[in-house]
């Protein structure tokens, strides 16, 4: 099944993945209201009430549950009504009107995405009036949209472009208006071109309802409506957490990652630079989608080979430092438990999450683990430990990081992330940019001969791999903490209760004499609920994992487009498959990590660890653009 089919559906049954469904699409947890699954839910509900209705769509009889929309009912008989403001994970907006259909007896055309079906309803989706209305809608939107698709970052992956193509639009009866709005390219992570915005409101919804950062709103009114931060500030000036979920929400190219690929090409071309790279586990889970494969289908070894082909001197893996994170963070947790430190301790791997708590809950920063993220631990070591071992001049090292994440671009530029004496990570490249580099290099990634990662910083365990999924850091930590504390070997290392797309997961794990209470949240909206509990003194957890993005890193803002909750579930499955396939699945059993401690760091939380692997946080304001009095 192609990704487009998963998002938009081509066949009657679009979603073969088992999706967890929630009643309300927004606010409560991550809404996984993928179209068919919401439909199935309605179907189940109405079976109790026997609320099936029969209607006719384009002359074909359709049985659909009461309360289903025309859009959903049409899908049953293989009719795909076009949509634009509709998003499978979001509320119904009925704003763009591109999904209009004719309903017998109705005076006006109806929006199929919002109109519920009823018994005896007769719907026509391709009458001259419908086709003309849709063309007018598209031409009106296109008249307010730049015409240079060739130069757009979303060329060939744009919902508007796709509709223009499907509707055979070759000219426009309306005058083309150039809005002439300034492009916001100040953020190190996310850029915006408001000229391309079609004002669908999808970025607003994900930022407000899912992440609760609420950076965007609709400003002005009518034709002049602009979706922008307060006072048209740059994303860099407001309390944006740089998670990039707005990029996935955007149907067009109005919001996109800052492209840093040119910096990497230059470094590779520079004979005086020793170019090394690390890659986060979530990248592999999604990267293949850029080449038409299913989530997780692309073999890790083929990516390694492609990176060598591009010209990297060493190909390492962030998983190495994910294992290291478990050693440091696990010991930090034990120390806090034993010495009465601040609890619950909260993970610090996700830079979007870090920025969120800094802006919105600066009073709770003591709860954060002082551990740097795996990316930054790796960055500090690749310019200290690695050159010492390899006999290379640290100044010549150019450190590239492949991440599923836009916030990592921001994180690597934080001033404190220079403990090696240099900027620890020189540049962060998202999964999408990596795909662009592989394509530009002309590499047939599907058929390239797989290769191995370089030692020592390319060795890793299954515990590191699952960092890419929500609950993964918690599970990896539990595997190690349990065995370190009890001295026993775990009977079953699969802590399945911390896995899955549920918004907030809780578990109690007996570790020796102690019942360790843990919680896992993904999306900062869910994290907010836990933080409110902590503030109110109602949280009795010991350890909390937070990932800023829905589903964890596999759903990050730098992952292939489209990224929907259904696709996130498929990537998560790929992550756990990879974990299960590995010979070593506990961080403390990683031989390269043992060697790192033996020959360089000495011990977890030791002097060198403290200097290179731990960090501090900055209290920020909800209104960072305001001058302090």
């Amino acid at each position: 099944m192609s990704i487009f089919e998963m998002l938009f559906g081509k066949k009657e049954k679009t979603n073969e993945i088992n999706v967890q469904v929630h009643e309300k699409p927004v606010k409560e947890e991550v809404a996984t209201t993928q179209e068919t699954s919401r439909f199935e839910k309605k179907a189940k509900r109405s079976e109790h009430k026997m609320g099936m209705v029969t209607l006719t769509i384009d002359g074909r009889k359709v049985k659909a549950p009461e309360g289903a929309t025309i859009l959903e009912a049409a899908k049953i008989v293989g009719i795909n009504i076009p949509t634009l403001c509709y998003h499978p994970d979001q509320s119904i907006k009925a704003a763009c009107r591109v999904c209009v259909v004719e309903v017998e007896g109705a005076r006006l055309l109806q929006a199929a995405c919002s109109q519920p079906v009823f018994d005896g309803m007769v719907v026509k989706t391709t009458t001259p009036a419908v086709r003309e209305a849709r063309r007018v809608v598209l031409e009106l939107i296109l008249a307010h949209h730049p015409q240079d698709c060739l130069n757009c970052i979303r060329n060939q992956n744009c919902e508007l472009q796709r509709l223009a193509e499907e509707y055979n639009i070759r000219s426009n009866r309306f005058e083309i208006v150039n809005k002439g709005l300034p492009i916001d390219d100040f953020s190190p992570a996310i850029h915006r071109d408001p000229n391309k915005c079609i004002v669908c409101g999808r970025c607003i919804e994900v930022c407000e309802q899912v992440q609760t950062a609420t950076v965007y709103s609709k400003n002005q009114r009518g034709y002049k409506t602009v979706v922008a931060p307060v006072m048209n500030k740059s994303l860099n000036e407001v309390a944006c957490i740089a998670c990039g979920q707005c990029i996935h929400a955007c149907p067009v190219g109005a919001i996109f990652e800052k492209d840093d690929t040119e910096n990497v090409w230059s470094a590779i071309a520079d004979p005086n630079k020793h170019v090394v790279c690390q890659m986060a586990p979530a990248v592999r889970a999604g990267l293949g989608e850029e080449f038409g494969m299913a989530p997780g289908e692309l073999d890790m070894g083929k990516i390694v080979a492609a990176l060598r082909q591009i010209g990297f001197d060493k190909v390492f893996h962030t998983n190495f430092s994910a294992d290291l994170t478990i050693m440091e963070e696990g010991n930090e947790l034990l120390q806090r438990l034993q010495n009465g430190g601040t609890l619950p301790m909260i993970t610090s791997c996700s830079p979007g999450w870090i920025k969120f708590i800094e802006h919105f809950y600066p009073d709770l920063l003591d709860h954060l683990s002082t551990c740097k993220s795996p990316q930054q631990m790796f960055g500090a070591l690749v310019k200290t430990y690695y050159p010492e071992k390899a006999g290379i001049e640290p100044a010549s090292i150019y450190s590239v990081s492949f991440m599923p994440c836009t916030a990592k671009k921001y994180e690597c530029q934080r001033p404190e992330m220079a403990d090696s004496g240099y900027q620890d990570v020189d540049v962060v490249i998202t999964s999408r940019e990596l795909a662009r580099m592989i394509k530009e290099a002309g590499i047939d990634v599907a058929n390239i001969e797989p290769e191995e990662f370089d030692a020592p910083m390319g060795l890793y365990t299954g515990a590191a791999v699952i960092f890419g999924a929500t609950g993964g850091v918690m599970e990896a930590a539990l595997r190690t903490v349990y065995e370190v504390v009890t001295g026993e070997t775990l009977q079953d290392i699969n802590f399945t209760m911390v896995r899955g797309m549920e918004g907030i997961k809780e578990a109690t794990v007996k570790v020796g004499d102690l019942d360790v209470k843990v919680a896992i949240a993904h999306t900062t909206g869910n994290a907010r609920k836990l933080l409110d509990k902590i503030r109110a003194g109602e949280a009795d957890y010991h350890f909390i994992e937070v990932m800023a993005c829905p589903g964890g890193c596999i759903g990050g803002g730098g992952q292939p487009i489209p990224t929907t909750n259904a696709i996130r579930e498929a990537r998560i499955a790929a992550i756990y498959e990879e974990d299960a396939s590995l010979p070593i699945r506990k961080s403390h059993e990683n031989p390269a990590i043992k060697e790192l401690y033996d020959t360089f760091l000495e011990k977890p939380l030791g002097h060198k660890s403290h200097h290179l692997l731990h960090t501090h946080y900055t209290a920020r304001s909800k209104y960072p653009y305001e001058k302090k009095d």
Partner: protein
């Protein structure tokens, strides 16, 4: 009255945000930028939403205004009566576009929805006082009274 004093009057009123914006506009003749975060805190809404509400209404202007506020009605009756020509005459007389303030801070030019003088269109208001049946020719003399 300070911004804090004004806002605190509406803090507990349902839908008080709009009321507070009106009260601030009455006092300051604009919505000072510094009011946005104060409103966000008082009404427990994100500041982006406050800005969205404030910019939705033509009556409010976030940021400073000049000492004389000219509003040109852009509703249909005034439009049909030649509002665009009047607007162009004002713009060329002042050397600014709609939404801007003259360099000397004397005039701010804005557009507005209907002001209720459709029978004498086209209409503009200067400092809330309507001037009706305007033509481009009448503009220079009218504006000179405010210089």
């Amino acid at each position: 009255m300070t911004l804090d004093a004004i806002i605190s009057q509406y803090r507990d009123v349902e839908g008080g945000l709009i009321e507070a914006l009106h009260a601030i506009d009455n006092e300051y003749r604009c919505i000072p930028e510094s009011a946005l975060s104060k409103l966000a805190e008082a009404f427990d809404v994100p500041v982006a939403k406050v800005y969205g509400v404030a910019t939705f209404y033509a009556k409010f202007k976030v940021g400073e205004r000049g000492s004389n506020l000219i509003r040109v009605c852009e509703s249909a009756p005034c439009h049909n009566a030649g509002a665009a020509l009047v607007l162009a005459a004002i713009e060329s007389n002042l050397g600014i576009k709609a939404g801007e303030t003259t360099a000397d801070g004397r005039f701010t030019l804005e557009l507005t929805e209907c002001v209720g003088c459709c029978n004498e269109s086209p209409t503009i208001t200067i400092n809330e006082v309507p001037y009706t049946k305007l033509t481009p020719e009448k503009v220079p003399e009218l504006l000179s009274k405010f210089r």
